[in-house]
Homo-oligomer: 314 residues x 2
């Protein structure tokens, strides 16, 4: 059943959400407080949808595009909405102002979600009349190429809001995780930080070059993680499963974990050093071209994953 | 130019190395101190090579098989060898005994490498006459499906040995990284531990289920890491590159890193809890079938990566 979706904020994240909902068959109203941003977004939308069609990830760019309309006011966007997805600036006052207005304007049973990557839900929704129907639905960047979404609510968020949101986002093809307790950075960025923190130390200490560090993931660890994740990986790496694996390797892994617990400041020297490592591999002026390469690789990988899931199983 | 390779130890790792060298066109002598292990290995070799052929990863299983011969003695295996790859038990005395015998038997210009995943090179090679030509070449498991190899030497290992080894292993299709200083667990397992340590804490604290934790990688972080690695990923995630990214997110990432520095013991309660999480997803008796699924997915992924590298660029 086709639903009405309001996407608030038409930057890369908002535009991506519009494609996610539109390609799943829903009607999308895309709004931005800045008309120029909305103009630009509409043009970029055409290009990205064409990319998806050319890469076999949607059947028809024009059919998806036809389901996405421009809304010139917040009122118009959220009127009759079943789902509202907010993608404004990462500033609490901006989001609180938007959420209280959307709360007043949206139908009583609409769910209102924020794409914030760092603000805890309660800081946005505390004290609002409709706090029970509000939550964070944090996607990866960009959501139309990476399916993961992290859901987290405030204490006031109802269990029903969380379960309905999970079901709805799964229906539109996203891979949803539920975060049960407030935690800084949610789950995805915490795992990313764990890797970056150790990676930076190894590079700073001269153990390995930045280029070789990346190889360790892209030709090693990242391969299994890209279709299993780290827990299933070790569950299948010892004859009797994960406990067997941990009994074998746990003691040496614990020693490594203790070494890794050394904290080290994230300074501008660190950032400069990491930039140097990357610029040894490619110059800064190659970044736009490489970003286009990344998106093509990501689209090809998504197509591969869909095929493999179908032919070999998920 | 076809080389002579001695593979010492015919378990999963040794057998995999035999396939890696054999499919690259080299002549392989496969030896194990236990004749029964060698018999079993020869049978398993046939099955794995057929798998590779069926999955489009080698042109001909029988041609590769024909280049792999059985050696019934260590002398026979290393005679005339250009490269010796040791895959015996992970025990220092076992490896030292083997290395000193291989040092005496192998041609003077042969390189002798250990597949050890945890023993520092110097503990194996200290004091040996041929220490300059000895190093660790640690693969992932199994090496015939995952290209990464971590090279590390002892102080006595010559720079020429390291550079010749890197060039040779790259020639046979592996992705090689060089570890410049001794470090516990080398690089791959240190990055794995960084992820597992944080993952286990999040699951133990009730923040997220084990199943959702895995989703965060397989539908999110792991996708980009499977063809770029973590440093290139963030280099492409801010307009001016990695430094720009770190200036934006570094301060909040540092706060997360400080939280993550809390050490927590790796206890049997932890192992039991993680087993429970996995058994919620699949029962133990499904592990063999799931392992076969993993290998099929991995082979399909390797094929996809070769095609994507060719069509879109590496």
């Amino acid at each position: 059943m086709s639903k009405n979706i309001a996407v608030i904020g038409a930057g890369l994240i908002g535009r991506s959400w519009a494609m996610v909902f539109g390609r799943a068959g829903h009607r999308v109203a895309l709004y931005d407080a800045f008309p120029d941003a909305l103009d630009a977004s509409e043009r970029l939308l055409d290009a990205s949808l064409a990319d998806l069609e050319n890469n076999g990830l949607i059947a028809s760019a024009s059919e998806t595009r036809a389901r996405i309309r421009r809304a010139d006011t917040l009122e118009d966007a959220v009127e009759g909405a079943d789902w509202v997805q907010e993608n404004a600036l990462e500033q609490v006052p901006v989001k609180r102002d938007l959420f209280s207005r959307m709360d007043a304007l949206a139908p009583a049973d609409a769910i209102i979600a924020s794409s914030t990557s760092a603000i805890p839900c309660h800081e946005i929704t505390d004290g609002m009349a409709g706090a029970a129907r509000m939550l964070v639905a944090h996607p990866a960047n960009p959501p139309y190429l990476l399916p993961i979404v992290e859901l987290s609510g405030a204490e006031a968020t109802s269990a029903e809001t969380l379960s309905r949101s999970r079901a709805f986002l799964e229906e539109v093809g996203m891979a949803v995780i539920t975060i049960n307790k407030p935690v800084k950075g949610f789950v995805l960025n915490r795992l990313q930080v764990a890797v970056l923190n150790e990676a930076f130390k190894l590079v700073e200490d001269g153990v390995v070059s930045g280029a070789d560090l990346d190889k360790t993931l892209k030709h090693g660890l990242g391969l299994r993680w890209s279709f299993m994740g780290p827990m299933e990986t070790i569950d299948l790496n010892a004859p009797s499963g994960i406990r067997d694996y941990l009994e074998r390797f746990g003691p040496s892994f614990e020693e490594i974990a203790v070494e890794q617990s050394e904290t080290r400041p994230w300074t501008s020297e660190r950032y400069q050093r990491m930039e140097q490592e990357r610029r040894n591999v490619m110059s800064q002026d190659q970044l736009p071209e490489r970003t286009a390469w990344r998106d093509r690789r990501l689209m090809a990988l998504m197509r591969h994953k869909m095929q493999a899931a179908e032919e070999i199983g998920e």
